[in-house]
């Protein structure tokens, strides 16, 4: 393609330096070694005698070196600066991804997560030496339990889906203990994809329950699927339509009546911090996404953390260890009496936990409530600004997010939600979550979070309104978007059909 365009100046797109080719690390390496061998000093000096040639390890030595690249530091710095310029991020701009809670990541949290007392701490440090660390972890357990309205917390799960699985395995152990093996887990049709996948991984079968006309769980339908073989319900509340399920107490009551337990997917906790607590709604377990609700960075896909808070029934089953505050004032690692075991090595993503701890300590009770208040107000504000131009399937006060439908644009102009999302990129804004939840046709799921200014919200509203007009006047323009990004729409079919997942040196091809 670039050869065909030779003679005309390359187009600069999307970012500073965008006209320059972006090479793979390995291609930089190839260019260098082709020109001259760069002499490198050893990265570390041997101070003791080298391995003896008779050492049994050397019988296992590599027959040839690993085919890794090696780059000088300036090349590495520039390579990743170029890649960084091709990324959108929370610092770049508005990131209204529904159910993802892309809020600002406070910088003090980055700083404290890099304190040497934390980063240099070995997980098998003697408890006496680790009192500071165990103390903050204990306090975080306590604070999350208070926020959730639960009685005990495990910090071990590394992500939301990992927390879901942890909770279901605890529920499984609880039922087994009560001589009551059960088989099914009920999931509303608005659930995140991780919920049914987790159900399978926990050895259960998923039974779907439909939503009612108001967007909550259809309680009659729930009654009809409940039975003695039901182990649990997994319910997101507020749900993925951004709606608080008004029947939540009735739902958890019915579930308990059937001898099952109620798990709350806490992905949307940002809406109700300090306003309501899943424990008070009758839930027995809840996972929290610290990378959503408590401001820890998403890192381009992780690491996150997905602690699980549980009520009294499930507390004895939590994975080991949990941090315990002993009578003598010391913090100790303890195994809950009927622990399911462990969900990973060591104690969890402590570097993420400390950021969430700092976040909660910075905000306090009032600050957390203000988070929910502003998140919900900002969502309702945007919903009012956009409801004329796009269909709004559920005409209710929303919580921290709301779901529009692009069905009118599709029907009248042949412009799909995907096109609208891609066109937003040309306005310099990351698109909302699209085609989810599945119950809304051409869904556009918008979560502004509390850390966006009114200007940012208005810029987004203006862009969405402008795109609705473009869809009517010049649908092809929207269908061909984006035009201004570092690359344009990708050939995803080719990627899946002919997987190229790892670079191979040209000679090997």
């Amino acid at each position: 393609m670039s050869a065909e365009r030779s003679g005309s100046a390359p187009e600069a797109r999307g970012c500073v330096g965008g006209a320059l080719p972006v090479r793979l690390l390995f291609e930089l390496e190839a260019r260098k070694s082709a020109s001259a061998d760069v002499e490198r000093e050893p990265v570390v000096e041997l101070e003791v005698p080298d391995l003896d040639s008779s050492d049994p390890l050397l019988a296992k030595a590599r027959s040839r070196p690993a085919a890794l690249p090696v780059l000088a530091e300036p090349e590495i710095a520039r390579h990743y600066a170029r890649l960084a310029a091709r990324n959108y991020s929370v610092d770049t701009g508005f990131y209204p991804l529904g159910s993802c809670t892309m809020k600002y990541n406070p910088r003090i949290n980055e700083q404290v997560a890099r304190l040497k007392g934390l980063t240099d701490a070995h997980p098998y440090l003697d408890e006496y030496v680790a009192q500071g660390l165990l103390g903050f972890m204990f306090e975080l357990q306590e604070m999350l339990a208070e926020i959730a309205g639960m009685s005990a917390v495990t910090l071990q799960p590394s992500a939301g889906a990992h927390g879901e699985l942890t909770a279901l395995l605890c529920i499984r152990a609880y039922h087994a203990d009560n001589g009551n093996a059960r088989r099914r887990v009920i999931i509303p049709d608005t659930a995140h994809g991780t919920n049914p996948a987790t159900v399978s991984m926990a050895g259960y079968e998923a039974t779907q329950v439909p939503s009612d006309a108001r967007g909550g769980v259809d309680v009659d339908a729930l009654r009809s699927v409940l039975g003695p073989d039901v182990a649990a319900i997994m319910l997101t509340n507020p749900n993925t339509l951004g709606l608080f399920d008004e029947n939540v107490c009735e739902i958890t009551r019915l579930v308990h009546e059937a001898g099952a337990l109620a798990f709350c997917d806490g992905a949307n906790m940002n809406a109700i911090l300090g306003r309501a607590r899943p424990g008070d709604m009758g839930f027995d377990a809840l996972h929290l996404n610290l990378h959503k609700t408590f401001g820890t960075p998403h890192g381009g896909g992780g690491p996150g953390a997905g602690p699980v808070a549980v009520g009294r029934k499930l507390a004895p089953y939590l994975p080991a260890p949990v941090v315990h505050h002993s009578e003598d004032g010391l913090f100790r690692l303890k195994r809950p009496s009927k622990s399911i075991g462990r969900m990973r090595s060591f104690y969890g993503n402590v570097g993420v936990l400390v950021r969430a701890y700092a976040y909660i300590r910075a905000l306090g009770a009032d600050g957390l409530r203000e988070v929910a208040d502003q998140a919900v107000l900002s969502a309702n504000y945007l919903m009012r600004r956009l409801e004329g131009a796009y269909d709004l399937p559920y005409q209710r006060t929303c919580m921290h997010e709301f779901v529009l439908s692009g069905r009118r644009q599709k029907r009248e102009h042949g412009v799909r939600t995907l096109d609208i999302a891609k066109r937003l990129l040309d306005y310099g804004i990351h698109p909302p979550t699209v085609y989810f939840p599945l119950v809304v046709d051409e869904a556009i799921m918008i979560e502004p979070t509390e850390t966006e200014s009114l200007d940012a919200l208005d810029d987004f509203a203006a862009a969405m309104l402008a795109i609705a007009e473009e869809a009517a006047i010049d649908p092809d323009l929207v269908r061909g978007a984006p035009y201004s990004t570092p690359v344009r729409r990708l050939d995803e079919a080719r990627a899946a059909k002919h997987p190229d997942l790892a670079w191979k040196p040209p000679a090997a091809e």
Binding site: G14, L24, L25, V44, L46, P49, P56, L57, A66, V70, Y80, L83, N87, L97, N105, I108, K116, G117, D120, D126, V129, A130, G132, E139, M143, H192, G193, A197, M201, A206, V248, C249, I272, R275, A276, P297, H298, G299, G302, P303, G341, M343, S345, F346, Y347, V350, G351, R361, A362, L368, Q374, N380, Y381, F436, T451, T485, L490, A495, A496, L501
Partner: protein, 449 residues
């Protein structure tokens, strides 16, 4: 502290657009009975300065960072070059979401593609994913891959793997989808005779090499035993040592997993590191987690995208290969920078210095007369090991470790606290960060109570 950039006047204006008198009205959708009618019971908020002071207290209480570790056991004190943190501190990387919108996520996507490529180069495998939570969960996911691939539920696991990884596998197994059978050890290696007896009808044999005791397992023999029954061989490897020793692919491993923390991630009390997961091409569509592929955009330019998502939970729901959604992207990025900065020679040097340091410490400890090799056979032969090793201490291990802690050393892991059978055994690790002076001083202190 607050992170809300909206003024009171702006809030009032927003309320007018929404058409409610105050924010409280928006929460009336929550049934009265479960609306929280009191403030959360949390500590008072802190300004940034106070918060920093408080977290200094948390981090430095007991001064864990001034200790000199001769301790590994799954988490290692390797040097992290400054460029690693410089790259992962870029907000364009660490404040980005999962790269679902490929057009504005080429940075993360290309970085993951490069990471996958480097994991393949290091392990010798065909394909790798974008990373997992940690080594333990990567091993469990490998067991699931084998179970789905073979239609068998039985997975044979060596008792010589990290006890916490074993416990993780057994915990996942309570779901009833996999049926783990633990094969005992013989002189710190998987007991090949017992493995042969147990292997019938197995989906996979899971081993770690180096194993928990630091020993290199006989992968060729294990491969032959697995082949007899059509079982997959899953090997957990130490990525630093892969700079020096033959990768498991050389012995026909089907899946190679491991804990990536040694590659540029600080210890951070055990997490986050990341898990790596690599396999043969034929299993690619059963791989768990995110995978990035190279393709082209509509103008024919090279571009990268999350691919083969038909395996994943957000598409396949209850029929997904795993429920995993997040990977540990930022730490995979750290590993890429680490590997590119060291290169094959640098990695080999780090591995070699670790191993040489370990042998130097081991010989000096044995020379004190207070330690003996733990796994020597009648001919005086011992298993090959990397930079971790086990010695038997002729004394009270708890007392010795306590005394050394007072002096500022982490004197290995007391294996007797994990398993009574290992009473008196201590697992030491020595990385490239330990100087000869530190090792000499440590031995001097151990030897002269």
């Amino acid at each position: 502290m607050r992170f809300i950039p909206v003024s009171d006047a702006q809030r009032d204006a927003m309320l007018r657009v929404v058409g409610v008198p105050g924010v409280d009205s928006l929460f009336e959708v929550i049934p009265r009975g479960v609306r929280l009618d009191r403030p959360l019971d949390l500590p008072h908020p802190m300004n940034e300065q106070a918060l920093r002071r408080h977290l200094d207290d948390v981090a430095y209480h007991g001064c864990p960072c001034q200790l000199v570790p001769f301790l590994g056991a799954g988490c290692y004190d390797h040097y992290v070059p400054a460029i690693v943190d410089a790259v992962i501190s870029k907000p364009e990387f660490f404040t980005a979401y999962t790269p679902y919108q490929a057009e504005v996520s080429q940075g993360t996507l290309q970085a993951i593609y490069e990471f996958q490529s480097m994991i393949c180069m290091l392990t010798g495998m065909d394909v790798a994913n974008a990373s997992m939570y940690d080594g333990a969960t990567a091993l469990v996911e490998a067991a699931y891959l084998a179970v789905h691939q073979t239609g068998r539920r039985r997975v044979i696991v060596a008792s010589t793997i990290h006890p916490e990884w074993l416990e993780t596998l057994l915990t996942y197994a309570t779901a009833g989808l996999i049926d783990p059978v633990v094969v005992p050890a013989e002189r710190g290696l998987v007991d090949l005779a017992a493995l042969r007896e147990q292997v019938a009808d197995a989906a996979a044999v899971l081993v770690a090499s180096p194993n928990f005791f630091g020993h290199i397992e006989d992968l060729a023999a294990i491969r032959a035993i697995a082949d007899n029954v059509g079982a997959l061989m899953v090997v957990a490897a130490n990525p630093i040592l892969l700079g020096l020793i033959e990768p498991p692919s050389a012995f026909g491993a089907d899946v190679v997993v491991g804990e990536g923390q040694p590659l540029g991630c600080p210890m951070t009390f055990g997490g986050p590191g990341f898990g790596f997961f690599a396999c043969k091409q034929q299993f690619v569509r059963r791989m768990p987690g995110r995978i990035v592929g190279r393709t082209v955009d509509v103008e024919g330019r090279d571009a990268f995208v999350l691919t083969m998502q038909a395996r994943e939970q957000h598409i396949r729901r209850e029929r997904a290969t795993s429920n995993i959604c997040s990977n540990h992207s930022l730490l995979a990025l750290a590993a890429s920078v680490y590997l590119a900065s060291l290169g094959p020679d640098g990695l080999e040097q780090v591995a070699r210095v670790c191993c040489a340091n370990a042998r130097y410490l081991r010989a000096k400890l044995v020379a004190t007369g207070m330690f003996d090799p733990a796994f020597m056979d009648d001919d005086g032969d011992e298993p090959a090991f990397g930079y971790e090793f086990v010695l038997r201490y002729h004394g009270d291990v708890t007392e010795m470790q306590g005394r050394m802690l007072e002096l500022g050393y982490l004197a290995g892991l007391d294996l007797g606290r994990i398993d009574e059978e290992h009473d008196g055994l201590v697992l030491f690790a020595v990385t490239e960060q330990r100087t000869r002076e530190e090792i000499d001083a440590f031995v001097r202190e151990v030897a002269h109570p």
